[in-house]
Subunit: 238 residues, 2 copies
Amino acid sequence: MKAALTLYDLAGAEPDRRFSPYCWRTRLAIAHKGLTVETIPWRFTEKEALAFSGQGKVPVLVDGARTIADSWAIAEYLEDTYPDRPSLFGDGQGRALARFINHWTDSVLHPAIARLILADIHAHLHEKDQDYFRMTRERFFGATLETVCQDREERVLSFRQGLAPLRATLAAQPFLSGDRPAYADYIVFGAFQWARATSPFALLASDDPIAAWRGHMLDAFDQLARQTPGYDHNINGR
Amino acid sequence: MKAALTLYDLAGAEPDRRFSPYCWRTRLAIAHKGLTVETIPWRFTEKEALAFSGQGKVPVLVDGARTIADSWAIAEYLEDTYPDRPSLFGDGQGRALARFINHWTDSVLHPAIARLILADIHAHLHEKDQDYFRMTRERFFGATLETVCQDREERVLSFRQGLAPLRATLAAQPFLSGDRPAYADYIVFGAFQWARATSPFALLASDDPIAAWRGHMLDAFDQLARQTPGYDHNINGR
C-alpha cells in the first residue's frame, strides 16, 4: 500500500539512523493519527533536495499537493487536516499549553542536551555532513564540540536538576498529556530520542521517573522509536 | 451577600498587601469560576490559625464543610466541584499540561524571581514575620537576603533570557491558555504579582510580550489584581 504521506527525515552515516528531535516529533504525531508515512533519509548538506519546500531544514512533510515545513506547523496541519483521527492536543487549551512545552524544549532542554552529546552526534554523521555540523554548532556554542562536551560526567548532575519540572509532572501522572501520550510527549521525547540515536552517554539515572516514561514512549506504536539504531544503555543501569 | 468561599491569604505589613504567588493563583481561579470569596489576611507566623487545615501554609480554602490546602489541590477542587462554571483547564489534556507549567513556575520561575526581590519582600512583611522569613529563606538560599539580591541590575538580563519559553509562547498567542486566560495563566501571573506587590525592581523590559500579557492579567476580572498595593512601575518605562 502506498503510504499516505512522505517525510524528509534527518539521517546519520547509516540511512536508518534517524536522530532529529524535530523529525521524531513528526514521526510520532503521524503514528498518533494512525497515518502511514514513507520517510526519505536526508542529510544536513542536501539543501537542494528541500528547495521545493522554500527552506532548508527538516522535517518537511508532503501530503499530496501540500508541502509543510517546521515540526509545529506540521503538528497543527495534521490536527486540522485529520480532525476525526485521535487528537494531538485535546482541545484549544491543550494546543496552547503544548506550545509552551514546545518552546521550553527548544530553548532549554535541547541546548542542555546538546552540551552533553554534541561530539557524539558528530561521530554518527554522514561524512559529507561533518564539516557543516562542526562549523555551524561551534559558531553557535562559541567553542569546539569537544570543549562544549568536556566534564560531562560532573555536569550531568546539574542537567538532571534542570529537569525538575518534567520529573515532578511525570511523578504525578503517566504522561505529560495525562493518561495517554499526545503531542506534548512527542515534543519532549524527541529530545531524548535524539540522544539515544547518537550517544552512549547516560542522560538519566535509572530510577528517574523520566526514565520510566522514556521507556513507555519507546514502546509506543509497536516500538516505533526503537526501530532506529540507538543506545538503550544510555540510561544508567539499563 | 455572604461570600460562598473563605480563603486564608498571605498579607504584608498592611492587611491589604496580598503578595503570595500561590494565593493569587487561587484568587484568580475563584474569579474565573465566577464565585465570591471572603479573604482573611494571614501572616507566616500565624501557624495556629491554620491548624484546622492540618498544615501550616496558605492558600487554605474553606467551602462549607470542606477545607482544602495547596494551590494545585484547590484548583482541581474548584474545577471538579463547579464543573458547570467556566473551566480552568479545558479538558483532561489541558489539566495535565498545566501541571507542567505549575512545576516549571515552582522550580524555575519562583527561585529566579526570589533572587531578585527577596530583600524587598522582607521590607514589606509584618514585623512579626520578618525574623521567620529571614531565617527560613537564608537557610534555603545559603546566604543573607541582601547577598542573594546583590548585583541584580546585571543579573536581570540573564533572568529575562530564562523567560524565553514564556516569551515565545506569548508572542504567538494572547494567553498561555490560548485566546482567553485560564489556570496556566494564573499560575505564571502569580509570580509576577508576587513581585509587583513587594518590589519596585523592574523584572521585565517594557517592550517584552510578557509585559503586555501581564498588563492584560492585571486588567482581568475588573482589575482584581490591581486592588492590592503594588509597584506598577516595576516594568521598565511604565
